[in-house]
Symmetry: C2
Subunit: 233 residues, 2 copies
């Protein structure tokens, strides 16, 4: 299986701009990417980061065995085009000996809670298409085994992907995982990183280093930033 992790290297996570400076957003996005790559490698796969601009994986502070398994491809096209080029029978789909029909998994770089168990379940699906949906109809991770299937990430992609699978006659399974279903886009999502993040993971460590901690409010828990510190915005 070929595993692709699309990554927006420039000005990432703009919906977090109310709580993080540009430099902080960049650091946090890279910390989430590092956690996602580690989980994929622990699940037995060798991920390719498809980045909108050159990045140096050595700067992601990955464990050596993870760093050795990661490669980077630069592709500045929109997400949908960059992914479709790498699906089975896409223009960049020749993944060596296994040929153009090797299964391709696409895992978003902001799945800060992505756990090895959940990824193994996703990778072990046997349908032509398998999707781990996110909130709001998003497609957080998927596996494609049918060369006729193409992605369309614009709008309610989970529903669109179900329709596309039906159109091309591809069997589809939905993978039920809160960890894969939690993409970190907005300030409220930071709670999930601090509640569920692994002790050793980079993303919660990055948030804690920036002064974020859990605040127990009435009913639910929120985040509060305790050290104003120097902000560059």
């Amino acid at each position: 299986m070929h595993v692709v992790v699309p990554f927006a290297a420039t000005d990432p996570k703009t919906r977090l701009e109310s709580v993080l400076s540009p430099t902080e957003r960049s650091a946090f996005a890279r910390a989430m990417l590092a956690d996602v790559l580690s989980a994929i490698v622990e699940a037995g796969q060798k991920p390719t980061v498809v980045s909108t601009a050159p990045i140096d994986p050595a700067e992601l502070d990955l464990p050596t065995h993870v760093l050795e398994a990661v490669s980077v491809a630069v592709d500045d096209r929109p997400l949908t085009d960059a992914v479709n080029a790498r699906l089975p029978s896409g223009e960049h789909s020749d993944h060596g000996d296994e040929g153009p029909s090797e299964a391709v998994a696409v895992v978003m770089a902001d799945l800060a809670l992505a756990a090895t168990d959940a990824l193994e379940d996703l990778f072990a699906t046997e349908t032509a298409v398998a999707i781990a949906p996110g909130r709001g109809g998003g497609t957080n991770a998927l596996v494609v085994r049918d060369p006729a299937f193409r992605v369309d990430y614009h709008g309610a992609s989970y529903l669109d992907h179900r329709e596309i699978a039906e159109e091309v006659g591809a069997s589809l399974e939905t993978v039920d995982s809160l960890r894969l279903g939690t993409d970190i886009d907005e300030p409220d999502d930071l709670v999930e990183v601090l509640v569920h993040g692994d002790e050793r993971a980079r993303a919660p460590e990055t948030l804690r280093d920036l002064g974020f901690e859990l605040e127990r409010r009435d009913g639910r828990v929120g985040v509060v930033r305790c050290e104003p510190a120097d902000r560059d915005r």
Copy 2:
């Protein structure tokens, strides 16, 4: 296993008051309860609704085999107290022949996406405590097999329950399910009911009857209410 479904029968789902009238909120809460009860019965269990006020299950429009498996107990105490009374060794924990130490599951009534598969996975856990967390540190469903464990639903209950389990030396498993992790509290949550709700389920049908439908916005999908209709608020 004894399965408890706490239900706030009076003025439920107040955080939906910006989009639903009191009568509509009551109807929608009962539709979600019906879906949760059906999923529990399909998972092989006989649920007890622990309701803050008397309700008639016959009015929930349940399939006959589900209705026959459901019982109702009225308990107007706060959620934490009403649940603790029904945990193993609690005051209401005598579940007949199986004795006071029978495992007890607690499944919230607003898990509109609760699927039989996910509940079966939860019920099949073997740890002293198993929790399916929700967003924001909530405890959406749990199984308790240790008489020393007590719930505390106030605040960040998932973190509190982890701490309580550790304090009493109870083994704990977290169940990773987006379906069990999605409680329907706020207007934005209605999207999930319409995106993932089963065709035959009552909650999405109720929303559609009230004029709600998916609206594909940029990036994510939202809900829009198309028929203002008669509103009683």
